[in-house]
Amino acid sequence: MEFLHAVIVLSNFVIIPAITYGSQLALGALGVTLVYGILRFSNFAHGDTMAFGTMVAILFTWWFQSIGVSIAPLPTALLALPIAIVLTALLLLGTDRVVLRFYRKQKSAPVILLIVSLGIMFVYNGLVRFIIGVGDQRFSDGSRFIISARDFKKLTGLDEGLAIKTTQVITVITAVMVVALLFWFLNRTRTGKSMRAFSDNEDLALLSGINPERVVLYTWLIVAALATIAGTLYGLDKSFKPFVYFQLLLPIFAAAIVGGLGNPLGAIAGGFLIAFSEVFITYAWKKVLTYTLPEQFAPSGLMQLLATEYKFAVSFAILLVVLLFKPTGLFKGKSL
């Protein structure tokens, strides 16, 4: 019984939130890794791309709410998602056409493109803050819980509750669907194969008649979809704040690098690794240990390894260890 309680507490506060957060990070890292693999630069504007996509989704959610459209019990934001993806894709394609294409034609060094992406980051960031402001926005509606802690206790007669939020389930299901779709696209379709070929060896791909602009176009479309979905899911699960999205850049990049930059499978693994480590290390283990350990060993403190504010330190430490001992990442990534 004690052990069962420990498991429930652990799932409620560690495992389920970590899986949710990991799915969001994995989707973000997939976007970063695709840009890195195909366009060959580290895109620092990715966090703000996510913020832009989420902002559009929020605006349309509000509009749908005001005219009374809803898909309850699911959150209205899911309805706004396709529109947000389209608008974000237009923004990214526009940016590519106006800004990035010039450097691609010049065959600029990846570092120059990185600095260009800093400029794009500034513009997106300003745009988002200009339109929606810097404050916290909550836009989740529909039913909050699939099963609330109280219902769970009543149902099972246990002392500890297990709450599963709707947004958590939606996040995981959406992430699985998106990843399955992406891998099907990359491995089975002609365009997907040409994208992988382009990422493996640009010159050979060009020689075999692959149109680079088409590959780039599809990459941005996919990146727009991934970024918008990741951002909206994160916003539904927590809340939307432009600055937080900018800060997500660090764990996302850590996930992509840990998995091996340019490797989609690695990005997913990296996302979960980072998420689980963050939650494990910043969680206060007192309750779980009280249940599992014999009474005389029960801890008196919170048993929290690091304060929550240091969660960046966790992604950073993992990143450093991987960089030091396995510079191409856990799965083999590419290095430029």
């Binding site: 400029g119 513009v123 402001g133 960089l323 430029l336």
Partner: protein
């Protein structure tokens, strides 16, 4: 020769902008722009050393600036004896234990050759030591933070003159740069970027959360000044008479005098650093650095040790940023860990370097002044512009109100566009490298 004239003209134009600010707005705000411009120029000089001369991508400037600010507190604030008695030795012991642990694990790492044994033994050793470390440190921290939390709640500093904090800030930033450089240099440039971004976030997180050291978000106010206080000036008869001879009332004169004194100090630091950087750039050492930047393989073939050269210049550039950070905290006379934002302290400095001209010391200084000027002035200009454009609308229309409200965000947009336009059309900056 024409290049020199262009340089003079550009600098003259920027100073003219500041002087115009003085006439139109006020001399106080003009001097504020000048002072922060001087500090920004020092920061962009440091980044230019790393990026312009050595091609190293440092996106963690904020962290080094923050360390400089921390140095100001640790050097110049008066120590808090009660807090030291309550938990000082314990905290010091904890930190010492932490340093010993890391040194020991590096030593063990070098001693044990078997990869698997090495990994597990170090992992177990680090995890155990972490708990010991926390058990030493935490009671001390709790005791220190309990001492009069509203006024102190921290250990305080050493009570030394604040000017000493500037070189110490540089040294602390150099130490942090050494740690990052040792691990991330020699890998691809993108990795260095991510690593520095990470370390800067961690440094700021430490400043915000370690209340025993920095008071965290409660801020450390009242940092001693290297220049006289306005009140003392107004009380001095000599000064009041001198001010009257310029036709100024004592209050205005004293604030202007203090700002000018700061400008003198900052200007001196900037001049020394520019002189050193120019000498370095034109010395054999500078030529070697540029050779490494332009072609690493060729430089390596000539027998240059690329990794240690990179480490050297990375440390130097970060130290310059640390000095600037200490100067800035001295000017503010308070450390506000909550105010460190990467867009302002990292990426804005990048805009300065790129706009001014990467690889050219004078260019990055010009960029520092110009971009800082725009950063300050875009908001009033934007407000005026939005006000003008939306004038035909109903004064209470929500669109107009929202636009006027978000004018403050215009500066990010403007800076981004400025950076992109410069990169596209003048990639070598306003004063290109020769």
């Amino acid at each position: 020769m024409t290049d020199n004239i262009k340089t003079y003209l550009l600098f003259a134009a920027v100073f003219l902008l500041i002087v115009i600010t003085g006439f139109i707005q006020s001399w106080n705000s003009a001097l504020f722009i000048l002072n922060m411009g001087l500090i920004s120029a020092v920061m962009s000089l440091g980044v230019n050393l790393q990026w312009g001369i050595a091609g190293l991508l440092n996106v963690g400037i904020m962290g080094f600036v923050g360390l400089g600010g921390l140095a100001t507190v640790l050097i110049s604030m008066q120590p808090v004896p009660e807090a030291w008695n309550a938990g000082g030795p314990r905290i010091l012991a904890g930190l010492l234990f932490g340093v010993l642990t890391i040194t020991l694990s590096v030593w063990v790492y070098k001693k044990i050759k078997n990869a698997r044994w090495r990994f597990f033994s170090i992992l177990i050793f680090l995890v155990c030591s972490f708990f010991v470390y926390k058990s030493i440190l935490t009671p001390g921290v709790v005791a220190v933070e309990a001492v009069n939390p509203a006024a102190t709640g921290y250990l305080g500093g050493l009570g030394l003159p604040v000017l000493l904090a500037w070189p110490v800030g540089g040294l602390m930033a150099a130490g942090a740069a050494w740690i990052i450089g040792k691990t991330a240099l020699g890998l691809r440039s993108d990795y260095l970027a991510i690593a520095t971004l990470g370390i800067s976030e961690i440094i700021i997180a430490i400043l915000r959360n370690e209340d025993w050291m920095t008071r965290g978000v409660k801020n450390v106010a009242g940092i001693p000044r290297p220049v006289p206080y306005e009140i003392d000036l107004q009380a001095s008869e000599n000064f009041v008479n001198r001010a009257a001879s310029f036709g100024l009332d004592p209050t205005t004169a004293s604030t202007l005098f203090v700002k000018i004194a700061y400008a003198g100090l900052f200007g001196l630091v900037l001049l020394v650093l520019v002189w050193l950087s120019q000498r370095a750039l034109n010395s054999p050492w500078g030529r070697m650095m540029r050779a490494i930047r332009d072609n690493e393989t060729a430089a390596q073939a000539m027998g240059k040790d690329i990794k240690s050269r990179h480490l050297q210049i990375f440390i130097l550039g970060s130290a310059v940023c640390g000095i600037a950070g200490a100067m800035m905290t001295t000017l503010d006379a308070q450390l506000t860990p909550g105010a460190y934002q990467p867009l302002r302290f990292t990426f804005l400095i990048w805009v300065m370097v790129i706009v001014g001209g990467s690889g050219s010391n004078l260019g990055s200084i010009l960029g520092g002044f110009l971009v800082w000027f725009l950063w300050v002035q875009v908001e009033p200009i934007g407000y005026w512009l939005v006000d003008l454009i939306t004038a035909p609308m109903d004064p209470q229309s929500p669109v107009r109100l929202h636009l006027l409200d978000s004018v403050a965000q215009m500066r990010l947009l403007t800076m981004g566009l400025f950076l992109l336009l410069m990169l596209r059309f003048y990639p070598r900056g306003m004063i290109p490298e020769k």
